[in-house]
């Protein structure tokens, strides 16, 4: 068994700050002798210098959650405080990276320790060797403050990285250097009241503290995903929050891929938090192959993946969503729209519960700590639409889509309930619909979007004034359908009135020709908002005209047999170049029924 090098006691004596372990219980370690310990400071534990974080202080006892396996640690082992909180490295090179929950790059770990992640391996989040071409945008003598952009780096062909002045630095640019730089090389010197400060490409930010902004605004613009059920029925706003429960086999992964691929956000952060290894492998192999449809470039050029699978250390799972959202905030501050997907927040909550149990805290509901809902709320609150600090003025947003994995599909459990209280959009994926091959399997009766009204206005203004009405009518039809189906089940279809039978037909069209969308069909996979409106408009127009015709005495069979319905059902496969086709079909519709 590998034992550490003997500790040089003289050296320890010199660095008196070292504490010593007095207890080890799973991922929790208790130490004494760290008088300067601060909450959430990072410490290095034991001979392998495992990464840990201080999560409780009691008199002189310090409780530490350790981000790696604690086997082989014991009382007496040393604990070395770093004096800094758990932080991520920010700078060019984040995009395209694959990290674990505490920002260790997984491909680099594989080079260091092989196919298995062994204890104590560490690597910086940003490559120290890689050189970036820096183009300064300020000159010597300019006055700058936090958040001001001083230079640009073309991080990937898709994304221009903006170098911002770090927090707390106000002053005059004493020196600025462009050219090929590594992340550690000085690119600017700024003379401040407290002396000259150096700026490098690599900047640190503590993950548990939201990055400051100049101001926050309410979301008003939709995040367009090209998924009809999402954009039209249950829209998500840029800067908004959504949650999606994913029972077994409900097609959650396909939906996530579709969102990552099509959402009109510039940066995608995907956090695999406590999920399956093979599933993560699927993401890790699929994402690099996905092509960004808006630019034709690999999607990874605007993506950061964070993978902390269920068998990786539980404390790192707890940290992973904070690592992810801090990176998201960094790009938001540059003025980008960021979409962050966290899969699954239930696993994160379980990590929280596990650590809380080890701390012997008083449990709340189902053993979760009482602060579960406030932590969840604080996480989702880091989403939003902001005016970034510094000049030039820029706006950015973070949209958070968190999935939940309710045990036994029970939506009344604490994580789902705490999540529903804070998020504004709920996409109720259902396995039942998936079995019927209705994809995306979002149940239109239980789902909701609190942005719908506000975004309907946007649609009304940007797409077509008739949109809000068409949407409302369509949703009403679906609601009535569910009631009518109940009646049909009990007493049969014969008891329905003419209008009611037409509603069933229209609902069927909405379901099959509008809500169902094939993610694997080249054309069907993305529908622009203009086409979404026209498709819905056609169906609702058909409803009105068919109803009129039927009420005027036309036999229902003939109304339903009209070939124009076939044409409507094929509109899924039209492209934006064929928008004129919608007018033709509408023409045909009028001539058929009038």
């Amino acid at each position: 068994m590998a034992r550490p090098e003997p500790v040089d006691l003289a050296e320890v004596g010199l660095r008196r700050a070292h504490g010593r372990i007095i207890r080890v219980a799973g991922p929790l370690v208790v130490a004494v002798g760290i008088p300067e310990a601060k909450m959430y400071d990072v410490v290095r534990v034991g001979p392998d210098r495992l990464l840990g974080e201080i999560i409780e202080l009691r008199r002189d006892q310090v409780s530490i959650q350790v981000y790696e396996e604690t086997g082989d640690l014991g009382p007496g082992d040393l604990v070395e405080p770093t004096g800094a909180p758990l932080s991520v490295e920010l700078g060019p090179g984040l995009l395209g990276s694959i990290y674990d929950g505490v920002q260790r790059p997984l491909p680099v770990l594989a080079e260091l320790s092989g196919d298995f992640i062994t204890r104590g391996v560490d690597a910086p989040g940003l490559s120290a060797e890689r050189r970036w071409s820096v183009a300064p945008v300020v000159s010597t003598g300019d006055t700058v403050g936090p958040g001001d952009i001083i230079g640009l780096v073309q991080e990937t062909p898709l994304i221009e990285h903006k170098i911002m002045v770090p927090q707390g630095i106000f002053g005059r640019v004493a020196e600025i250097r462009g050219g090929e730089r590594t992340v550690d090389e000085q690119i600017a010197l700024i003379g401040t009241e407290h002396g000259v400060q150096e700026v490098t490409l690599r900047q640190m930010w503590p993950v548990r503290r939201p990055r400051p902004v100049a101001g926050k605004t309410s979301p008003t613009v939709p995040l367009i995903t090209g998924q009809r059920v999402v954009d039209t029925f249950f829209p998500l706003a840029k800067g908004g929050t959504a949650t999606v429960p994913g029972p077994f086999g409900s097609g959650k992964t396909v939906l996530q891929h579709a969102l990552a691929k099509w959402a009109d956000a510039q940066i995608i952060i995907f956090i695999g938090c406590g999920e399956r290894g093979n599933e993560m492998t699927d993401v890790l192999t699929e994402f690099p192959r996905l092509i960004d449809p808006h630019s034709g470039r690999p999607l990874m050029e605007r993506t950061v993946l964070i993978a902390n699978t269920s068998n990786m250390p539980v404390a790192a799972r707890e940290a992973s969503i904070y690592t992810g959202i801090t990176i998201a905030e960094y790009y938001r501050d540059m003025g980008y729209d960021v979409a962050l997907q966290a899969d699954s927040t239930s696993r994160w909550a379980e990590a929280l519960r596990e650590i809380s149990g080890r701390l012997e805290e008083m449990p709340g509901e189902e053993g979760y700590p009482a602060y579960l809902s406030s932590r969840l709320a604080a996480f989702y609150e880091r989403a939003g639409n902001v005016r970034a600090e510094g000049s030039p003025e820029r706006r950015g947003s973070i949209t958070v889509i968190g999935s939940v994995s309710p045990p036994g599909g029970d939506l009344s459990e604490p994580v789902v309930q705490a999540t529903l209280r804070v998020v504004k959009v709920f996409w109720g994926l259902e396995d039942k619909l998936a079995y019927e091959r209705h994809f995306p399997a979002i149940n239109w009766l239980i789902s909701y979007s609190l942005y719908a009204d506000r975004l309907s206005e946007w649609w009304g203004a940007e797409v077509d004034p008739a949109f809000p009405k068409a949407r409302r009518e369509a949703m009403a039809v679906m609601q009535v359908e569910s009631e009518l189906k109940e009646i049909v089940r009990l007493v049969g279809a014969d008891s329905l009135s003419l209008g009611e039978r037409l509603i069933l037909e229209t609902a069927k069209m909405i379901r099959e020709d509008f809500l169902q969308q094939n993610a694997f069909d080249e054309k069907d996979t993305f529908t622009s908002i203009a086409r979404q409106f026209h498709m819905l408009d056609l169906i609702m127009s058909w409803h009105r005209l068919a109803l009129k015709a039927a009420e005027a005495g036309e036999p229902l069979e003939r109304v339903l047999a009209a070939p124009v319905r076939e044409a409507i059902s094929k509109t899924k496969f039209l492209t934006d170049d064929e928008l004129s086709r919608f007018a033709e079909i509408k023409e045909e519709l009028s001539s058929t029924y009038e």
Binding site: S113, T118, N311, S356, G408
Partner: protein, 459 residues
């Protein structure tokens, strides 16, 4: 470095509290030497300056606080591994149980293993032909997958898993196959069934068995799956074999975990199971997989008996969230004497689509299984209706579907315990069942496949 102590303070259930100890590490292995000379293995679960909490793998009966000696061994639980393990039977901690010689280890490995780096995993997509239609045709197993069998008391999960172990083979035919069998908490009879079964079919030569019986110490069960998987990892990733790991019964494992947790007075989660059950189960199930650039693979087939056939119980529920699908056995089919009684509707193989198709099995596989799924679902609905209204009241189409559902269960799902159907036979059987349905009902299969495979078949 061995250190002996006579300082046991408390004994609570399987837990032994040892005080006044120095230099003890978390997870360290312990020998408890009882006054009567018996020695029990144990492991440090919690360690502070004052006291080490040791879980004893064997019963604490006969232990006392004066004479029992505690020896700290200086390392965690390890397994000595070698290719010679094949063909042998061990106890739950890896000691030979078959009267054979000790294994001369090539290596000693920590039984806890290390997580596979997600970027080094290779996605599982090699179809394993088990010869069982309800699995191959509907919910196929692929190399590197973890696919549990959700069973219930009295259902033939043992027969089924033995059959899969016996018949499973990969169509590409490359690589050596091995079976690692981990039994925890099952009865002598059940274990004996497996051992006999492996001997009968000579499968024993390529198997390694780790057996912890119902009357063996429950705490030992916490180690057994890890010991078995350590052996499997060695065979798979060092010797390049394709290893099928059968673990039965996960329910007893979880109960042992709960027992230790409650002895430690931990805050219980759902149904008294500890809050870390998910993480703990993941550390077992996630050891399945394939690694880029290495020839071997680990495929897991854990078996668990559901309490009262309830799949929302924490054990099946959390298992389902970690594994890539599940095979559910149905009491109803079993009563009707259908073997294997696999309920195909709620069963699922999440890795199905990547493991089947033209190059892997046959081009019609995906469409055909979707068609069978939907037709069977329709047939079952018709059956429910028939119960209420009577068969006569069904429409003609519903009657056809009703017949289809029955035929599907009796001819497709049902098969002999020693019957091995090739994937071709399974798919052809599927088509011959579809021949009962009107052509226009076959909407999920491609027309060209209908022409090619259904042809002029008549039911």
């Amino acid at each position: 470095m061995n250190r002996d102590y006579l300082t046991i303070r408390d004994v609570v259930g399987p837990l032994v509290y040892v005080e006044r100890i120095t230099d003890v590490k978390y997870g360290e292995l312990v020998d408890l030497q009882f006054p009567d000379g018996r020695v029990s293995r144990g492991q440090v679960l919690d360690i502070s300056e004052e006291v080490a909490v040791v879980q004893s793998f064997e019963s604490t009966q006969g232990i006392d606080t004066n004479q029992t000696k505690v020896r700290f061994i200086g390392h965690g639980l390890e397994l000595g591994v070698s290719g010679d393990m094949l063909g042998r039977v061990f106890d739950g901690l890896g000691k030979p149980k078959d009267g054979g010689p000790r294994i001369l280890p090539k290596k000693r490995l920590d039984v806890n293993g290390s997580p596979i780096n997600p970027v080094e995993r290779a996605y599982p997509d090699d179809f394993i032909e088990t010869g069982i239609s309800a699995i191959d045709g509907m919910n196929p197993l692929v190399r590197g997958q973890k696919l549990p069998i959700f069973s219930g008391a009295g259902l033939p999960h043992a027969k089924l898993s033995a059959q899969i172990a016996r018949q499973g083979k990969v169509l590409s035919g490359e690589g050596e196959f091995a079976v690692v069998f981990g039994a925890f908490g099952i009865t002598f009879e059940e274990a004996d069934f497996f051992i006999k079964e492996f001997r009968r079919t000579a499968a024993i030569k390529r198997s390694v068995l780790f057996i912890n019986l119902a009357d063996d110490p429950p705490v030992e069960r916490l180690a057994t799956p890890r010991v078995a998987l350590t052996a499997a990892e060695y065979l798979a990733f060092e010797l390049g074999m394709h290893v099928l790991v059968i673990m039965t019964d996960m329910t007893y494992y979880c109960e042992a975990l709960r027992e230790v947790s409650s002895a430690r007075r931990e805050v219980p989660g759902r149904r008294g199971y500890p809050g870390y059950l998910y993480t703990d189960l993941a550390s077992i199930y996630e050891r399945a997989g394939r690694i880029k650039g290495r020839p071997g693979s680990i495929t897991q087939l854990p078996v668990l008996t559901m309490t009262d056939d309830d799949k929302t119980h924490p054990i099946p529920d959390l298992t389902g969230y970690i594994t890539e699908g599940q095979i559910i056995l149905s009491r109803d089919l079993h009563r009707r004497d259908i073997y294997p009684p696999i309920d195909v509707m709620p069963s699922l193989s999440r890795l199905k689509e990547k493991g089947i198709g033209a190059e892997k099995t046959r081009e019609d596989h995906s469409g055909l299984s979707n068609q069978l799924f939907s037709a069977y679902a329709r047939g079952k609905e018709a059956r429910e209706l028939a119960v209420i209204l009577g068969e006569q009241a069904l429409s003609e189409t519903d009657q056809i579907y009703l017949r289809f559902a029955t035929d599907y269960e009796e001819r497709f799902v049902n098969q002999g315990e020693d019957e091995r159907r090739t994937i071709g036979e399974t798919l052809d059987l599927g088509w011959s069942l579809l021949a009962e349905l009107p052509r226009e009902e076959l909407k999920r299969v491609k027309p060209e496949h209908i022409d090619k495979f259904l042809g002029n078949r008549v039911a």
